[in-house]
Point group: C2
Chain length 369, copies 2
């Protein structure tokens, strides 16, 4: 069943360095095909299109440096659906902007906010979970998706449930609080306790409810929105006003301030709900994660046409040139990433440290960053 | 002091695979700058030019597949000095050919036969040793250079001296016999005993003495030479005749058959002499040897402009494209060799196994071999 009252807002403002040399300041992670044949943002959109009538129900938020490339990757999204931020101001301002754009004419429509650079192994289950969340949003709740943890990861924020869910329960559950990236010991306790889910940055709400939350918790942002949404010269008004927005994430600016729940509460005082999700989610945070997701040969090397391997196992090979052969002899656990102008070789277990190379290059060869 | 009666014959018939992907069937090792800024064959020539008047005293022997590239690398060598073999017949036929070419008009001139793909760290000492050998050759002896071993290498043939040299002696010494590549235990005994030198494939003799040795030990080769050297249609005669030559090395075909010495002997019955040499010789047999010879950074990585290294040590980087950056993070002891159409990554201690990759490519991508 498709719906006319749902809009997806895909956040494409990222400019990470963890996928250098494939990623660059003008070609960030979401524009790369890191976990499938298409750029991640395109896979994100195609994953949710079955829930709506078409790409006109998709909004894209991002910066100017990546605007042209993003439009090129999503040609079927109407030009007006791109919310291009004149300056990076984290997630709260652009989400508030999207809620305002939709809500001025259709305040009861639901917005689904999704990162553009995550991977989902089971899109059918993903859409089922989203549908549950959309149902709760239609009833006036602000909802997030919490990922069922599979390991004591210290790289994610966590969502603490207000109550232990009954075993196997999958419906919306009240959130007690957000927890910043924990220590290893705390992450292990979270995993054992069953009351914590990973925060994957997905939020679902009616436009009117987000507009109200912004007015209440980020009044200065709400006032600035009034100056450029629907202004007589919107481009100029945006240019002048948006940079004055507070730079704050939606988690900190809105979600953590929502009421603590309780059945008698009203509006956002009723608090944030979370729908647990278990659909093969990955934030694809490094070349190691990309290797884990990639199709592999019997020797656990990435399956790419360019590869010739002898005595080589568990290597991740990325070669952008189709003509070039990549020959691996006697190596194990390496990332070998080759582009037109750069080559990176490192152990996959050092994948978190790519930034050190990028920092070195910023001084020596800034054109390669 | 330069001389007019000496000619260098540089053997450039090699077509190794140990330096893939830099080397190819049409671009063998001697045409690569593996141990200095110029191709090895060019460094070989420049190393000996101080001993003669000019490049007109240099002969080059090689095959047709590499002829154009070799001429391009040595433009100052006269066109007629290239002895282009219509078919590969190992070293004895082309050395006999060169001796015949020189000896028909200048039988008392000396030929110095040198491989084209070896490295010498101390060219001054090298030329001093060659001068000693040339002196002995002028007196009618056939002479070789024996390299003072520095390790029990099992990859070389050895030259056994007829007598233990007096300590520090560096003059010509009678050879007892050639020894094929030994086992490790035997190589260790050779190193300890002090009576064995490495056979580096360098031979020095008067043209007339080699012509006589060929007539005696390879009479069928001598007869074939008469059919094309100085023939009315030399190109056509060469084409028809050379492929009929026996395929045999100079070591096996001539050197091992020379008399066992003894002061009363005459001509080649007087036996082969060897001049010990200690001038930083390397046959540059693999990427590991190339790394050992290369200029390196404080972290023992090859010093190349393309390299950006973080936590990376003892790596050999070869990058043919000047625009490309090669970033190494957290790796040690690797060879990373990058060309326009291929990339090789392997541990340096597997450098002897490059052939396995080449064999794999012969089936899958023969155009890359």
């Amino acid at each position: 069943m498709t719906t006319l009252d749902v809009h997806f807002l895909i956040l494409a403002g990222g400019s990470g360095t963890r996928f250098w040399p494939a990623s660059r300041s003008t070609l960030p992670k979401q524009l790369l095909p890191l976990a499938g044949p298409s750029p991640m943002i395109r896979e994100t959109m195609e994953r949710v299109l079955p829930l709506v009538r078409g790409p006109e129900q998709v909004l894209i938020a991002g910066g100017r440096a990546t605007e042209a490339a993003t439009r090129a990757v999503l040609p079927e999204v109407p030009a007006a659906n791109f919310l291009i931020e004149p300056a990076a101001r984290n997630t709260a301002p652009c989400i508030a902007w999207a809620a305002e754009v939709v809500g001025r004419t259709r305040p009861d429509d639901v917005l689904v906010v999704l990162p553009s650079d995550h991977h989902v192994a089971d899109p059918v289950e993903f859409r089922r979970v989203l549908s549950v969340a959309i149902g709760a949003a239609r009833e006036g709740r602000i909802v997030t998706i919490g990922i069922q943890p599979t390991r004591p990861d210290t790289g994610f924020g966590y969502i603490e449930l207000a109550t232990s869910p009954s075993k196997g329960a999958t419906g919306p559950t009240p959130v007690l609080r957000f927890v910043e990236k924990p220590s290893r010991a705390i992450a292990e306790a979270f995993l054992a306790g069953g009351r914590h889910l990973w925060n994957a940055g997905m939020f679902i709400f009616r436009a009117r409810d987000m507009m109200a939350a912004v007015r209440r918790h980020l009044p200065e942002a709400a006032a600035l929105l009034d100056l450029f949404v629907g202004a007589p010269e919107p481009a100029r008004a945006l240019e002048e006003t948006f940079p004055k927005m507070p730079s704050v994430s939606i988690d900190v600016g809105i979600m953590e301030k929502l009421g603590g729940g309780g059945d008698g509460a009203t509006g956002d005082d009723r608090g944030l709900l979370v729908v647990p999700g278990d659909f093969g989610w990955s934030d694809v945070g490094s070349w190691l994660a990309a290797w884990e997701l990639a199709e592999k040969t019997a020797e656990h090397n990435t399956r790419v046409p360019a590869l010739v391997a002898v005595d080589a196992r568990r290597n991740h090979v990325v070669a952008t040139s189709r003509k070039k052969v990549v020959a691996l002899l006697g190596v194990e656990g390496l990332a070998v990433v080759e582009t037109e102008d750069a080559l990176l070789v490192m152990p996959l277990d050092r994948a978190q440290d790519v930034r050190a190379i990028v920092d070195e290059l910023k001084a020596q060869r800034p054109e390669l960053v």
